[in-house]
Amino acid sequence: MTTNRDARISTEDKETNEPVSLITESHFSDPQKTYFYGYSAGDDFYEALIAAHANLSESESHAFNARLVLILANHIGSLPVLKQALRAAAIEDK
């Protein structure tokens, strides 16, 4: 699946074409696989995520999540995007 550019909160940087906005529409893909239905790539990820936590204690899961956030944050790199992500995740608990 391709990135839906309309899904970005703001536009791309005009000079570098780097995304400076958070992608909020579904964006999961796997170049090794052909997906015939739109939900499949996201479901693949979700299953892998839950499986990664199998057999972890609660504190181990916390630590795992922390490491994962740090690794993904570095992969994204862009501070404007990361700050938008921090704000998006800070929605009120119900």
Binding site: I50, S61, A88
Partner: protein, 590 residues
């Protein structure tokens, strides 16, 4: 028993063979939707079928409910889709709620111009009744009720069953024994064959209620609704003002206790509010497993439907996949029985339908894991997805209350011929894909040359559908070629087909698709293919065939009897069609 439905009672005369042994080419065990579909498919191909069922009526109580677009297309080929659609409740939209807020909405039919809706809801007993009505029109299909298989033996070449009836027992020697006797499959057990997978530790209450309500015909799914906190609830509309409500109960409840009306009625009242009067039609508590047999074919014994594989109900992938099993098996067994395919063609039933079962089990397991998280962290992620789904589109895509039944793309099937190098189609109709439908209209091109504009007489009949021209036998679908050279390709294909027809009973037809705006001269030809009786011509009424298959003049698709694509080319060539046809019949060395 039910206020909205009276069960028919079937009986048959005392079998003349009591105490004897008879021989039959094909015996199907189980007259549920899968067994009936398979029996009809084979009987439509003039194959004598004996269908046995241990009961004397249709499915009792609340079972299969949702029949997906692909299943309706198959039922249409079997002559049973009309009453199913007329009686059933069509729907395309599903809504998912968290507490009181809608978090996700899906549309099963985002594309226009298909004959059938995304889903039709209909109680299983009606589906079986309509299939039976069709079955009774077929003279080579014999159904015997209250005929129970009590013993089975098999060797490499055939099997033998002992059948118990109210009047005594008899034996049948079967060339092919097709087993559609349900999840508990007595025959599977008698043969000592394994079925493996996961048992889920959760219980669900099904309540079918009769009420007059003006809820739209949609699938509504709640996570953690105020009327049933911390659990999920699913609402479906059925025929006859019956509504299916499915309450998640958790593992630690007493199923017998939960079935009592004094327990069930308050749950429903809490959900519907005080304004809705309703009557209970059926109540049951169920658990489920996701599992399949390692192999569906065991020599001359072939398993299908729930007997071969089981899924959770979230996704409606049970009966739908079973009917697709029947669709896959019918033409292959017919080709083997006719001697036009090797027995190994039946191994591709096993390969393709175990692939489909794995896909169905994967999707229904994922839905179940989302609905019933198995650990605190899984629950945390689930709840976070639901929370984010109210704000962010990507999270809506992860909400999984059931990925509803869709057909499998048999992209890796050995029956496919791969695309030629350099030939690119901007279409998902790859080899292995289930063929997409589109509106068409039959036309009758005339033979002789004549004035422009009179070339193709449009059949006065109302618009019909592409899938009506595909299936049953093999079809070569060709986009009407423009130049004389390409038309010669069509003619040589027609000549080859004519010669083939004398030797091979597996039906093969040509379907020529004409563009709506084609020049008049395109459909005029003095060519052979116009005179050949097994060639149909259709007009691409809305341009959807050309769009969905990315057709250019002379492009061709070979489509299997079960309406799956098995090969495609940019330029029609009789030699390539012949090779692909032989491959699709399991002659793999060619």
């Amino acid at each position: 028993m039910l206020s909205t439905y009276t069960y028919p009672q079937f009986s048959n005369p005392r079998p003349a063979e009591v105490g004897q042994t008879i021989q039959r080419p094909v015996v199907i065990v189980g007259a549920g939707p899968v067994g009936l579909s398979c029996a009809i498919d084979l009987a439509q191909r003039d194959i004598p079928v004996l269908l046995l069922d241990d009961d004397n009526t249709v499915s009792v109580g609340s079972r299969g409910l949702c029949y997906a677009k692909r299943t309706l297309e198959i039922l249409n080929r079997l002559g049973a889709a009309g009453p199913v659609c007329d009686k059933g409740v069509s729907w395309n939209v599903g809504r998912t709620f968290l507490a009181e807020h809608e978090v996700y909405r899906f549309d099963l039919l985002p594309q226009p111009d298909h004959q059938f809706p995304g889903m039709v809801n209909l109680q299983q007993y009606y589906l079986e009744e309509y299939l039976l009505r069709r079955a009774q029109q077929l003279s080579c299909l014999e159904i015997r009720w209250q005929n129970k298989v009590v013993a089975v033996t098999r060797d490499e070449a055939s099997s033998e069953i002992e059948v118990q009836t109210p009047d005594g027992s008899y034996h049948v020697l079967c060339d092919w024994l097709l087993v559609a006797d349900g999840a508990r499959s007595p025959i599977r057990r008698m043969l000592g064959l394994d079925i493996e997978g996961r048992v889920f530790q959760d219980r669900f209450l099904i309540a079918d209620v009769v009420m007059k309500a003006d809820f739209p015909a949609e699938r509504w799914f709640w996570f953690d609704p105020p009327f049933h906190p911390n659990q999920s609830v699913l609402l479906h509309r059925e025929a006859d003002n019956v509504w299916r409500i499915d309450f998640q109960l958790g593992w630690n409840v007493d199923p017998e206790e939960e079935k009592k009306p004094e327990k069930v009625i308050p749950r429903i009242q809490a959900m519907l509010g005080p304004d809705h009067a309703f009557d209970l039609e059926w109540v049951s508590v169920y658990t489920f497993q996701c599992r399949r047999m390692t192999q569906f074919r065991h020599g001359p014994v072939i398993f299908m439907g729930d007997a071969a594989h089981q899924v959770s109900p979230f996704g409606a992938r049970g009966a739908n996949s079973g009917i697709q099993d029947a669709d896959n098996l019918g033409w292959k067994l017919a080709a083997v029985l006719a001697g036009s395919a090797p027995q190994s063609l039946l191994d591709t039933y096993d390969a393709e339908r175990t692939q489909a079962a794995d896909e169905n089990i994967l999707n229904s397991t994922r839905s179940t894991d989302f609905i019933t998280p198995k650990s605190p962290v899984s629950r945390l992620f689930r709840d976070s997805v639901l929370q984010l789904a109210q704000h962010l589109g990507f999270a809506r895509g992860l909400v999984n209350s059931g990925r509803l039944s869709v057909p499998t793309f048999h992209a890796d099937s050995v029956l496919n011929s791969t695309d030629l190098p350099g030939e690119v189609f901007a279409s998902r109709m790859i080899p292995g894909a289930p063929a997409d439908d589109a509106p068409v209209r039959r036309i009758v091109p005339s033979l002789a040359s004549h004035a422009p504009g009179e070339s193709a007489a449009v059949d006065a009949a109302s618009p019909d559908w592409l899938l009506g021209y595909l299936g049953g036998g093999f079809v070569v679908m060709v986009a009407m070629p423009e130049d004389a050279e390409a038309q010669e390709g069509l003619d040589s294909l027609a000549r080859w087909m004519q010669s083939l027809h004398k030797t091979a009973p597996m039906n093969l037809r040509i379907l020529v698709v004409h563009a709506q705006d084609a020049s008049a001269g395109q459909a005029t030809s003095t060519a052979d293919h116009l005179a050949f009786p097994l060639v149909d011509h259709v007009l691409d009424l809305k341009g959807r065939v050309i769009e969905r298959y990315d057709l250019t003049p002379g492009s061709a698709y070979l489509i299997r009897p079960d309406q799956h694509i098995c090969a495609r080319w940019r330029n029609l060539s009789a030699l390539q069609v012949e090779a692909a046809y032989r491959r699709a019949l399991g002659h793999l060395s060619h």
